[in-house]
Subunit: 216 residues, 2 copies
């Protein structure tokens, strides 16, 4: 746990804080905006203004991974975007499976925002026999019993959980069992997962419930 060599982050294997990793996609997004606005160069100041954070934090975050800027000038927009995408693993396509083909699952598979960012929904599943066999967005709904096989065959690395809360934990267990390490969970519960599995929750009610505290 104790880290001795802190004179040089580069090339050493200090784990990068998770908060930092979660901010990198924000930087990528702003870089895309600047890029399509024709800007070639961006400063940490400009990035900070867009994201409402301090320039120092942005520079510090980037320094975990290398030296991307030029003093007196800033960062090359295209180059920094490319580097960050590579760091995050966004320079390739990822196959995802959606489990739960109710209303929410169907909304997710037809959401047009995933594909342009390299996330392809390659298979869909459901626990109910009433839905298995139907087709949505050109994807035939499979039984959850076929999960492990499909995950292997289609090189699926991401699971998206859109089942009702009462089935969510068992579905997550099945995904973990099938070797999935990254889960996007739309069910309103905090699932139990083993070490090494990352879960991110999409939970609008939780978000609302913490905002009301600040309304005075």
């Amino acid at each position: 746990m104790t880290n001795l060599n802190n004179t040089d982050n580069l090339g050493s294997d200090i784990p990068v804080p998770e908060v930092v990793i979660q901010r990198l996609p924000l930087y990528v997004r702003v870089l895309m905006q600047f890029s399509s606005a024709g800007e070639k160069v961006i400063s940490s100041e400009q990035l900070g203004t867009r994201l409402q954070m301090t320039p120092a934090q942005i520079r510090k975050d980037l320094s975990y991974f290398g030296r991307f800027g030029k003093q007196g000038r800033g960062y090359d927009v295209a180059m920094l975007e490319r580097q960050l995408r590579e760091i995050l693993g966004l320079d390739r396509m990822w196959n995802a499976a959606v489990v739960g083909m109710g209303r929410l699952g169907r909304a997710v598979v037809s959401y047009p925002g995933f594909a342009p960012e390299g996330f392809k929904i390659s298979a869909v599943f459901d626990t109910s026999n009433a839905i298995v066999g139907k087709t949505f967005s050109d994807l035939r709904v499979q039984s959850i019993s076929q999960l492990t096989e499909s995950v292997k065959e289609l090189d699926i690395k991401i699971g998206i959980v859109t089942v009702p809360i009462n089935h969510a934990q068992e579905v997550i267990d099945a995904l973990v069992e099938a070797g999935i390490k990254s889960i996007l969970n739309y069910a309103p519960l905090s699932p139990q997962v083993p070490e090494g599995v990352t879960v991110r929750g999409i939970d609008p009610v939780l978000s609302l419930q913490s905002m009301t505290y600040y309304i005075r």
Copy 2:
């Protein structure tokens, strides 16, 4: 009734850390589960197991607001839930407005998870004249020019943004202008908002983009 004082170690009103506030709804959720399972008492250990966090953190979080437990026993489930709801402002109903009645907005207004938690969508808006006047889930779509008036009239405290990215900032500006202090933003951008306005983003792509870092 509720003791809203901080611990007295530093004398006066340190604001409660935002991370703490964001965890309170998680506690409420587990308390509901325990309650409907017939459990009367819960320990910080049990809460921690459910949420995959340490008992000490839970006790510390709660200590910002008062002393709710009994040594040697734990917390009264019903009482703690009631107290936390009061602290968060969840002991009342909140009116919300949805702006953007495209596919996503229609999914949001018909989502059955908000009402049981006390969030009522009381008005819906759109920027496009092609949609204004139509009705979804018994709500007639209004022009955004009527926002300020409706917010006042219907006591709307929460704005939910479901417009496409190119209209999102202007819609958020309009909500802020109308006096809204809490915004749930489904558009994939980091909006600029003044101090005192809370924004929470619902952004599945961002979540995926930070998870891929950990897939090795």
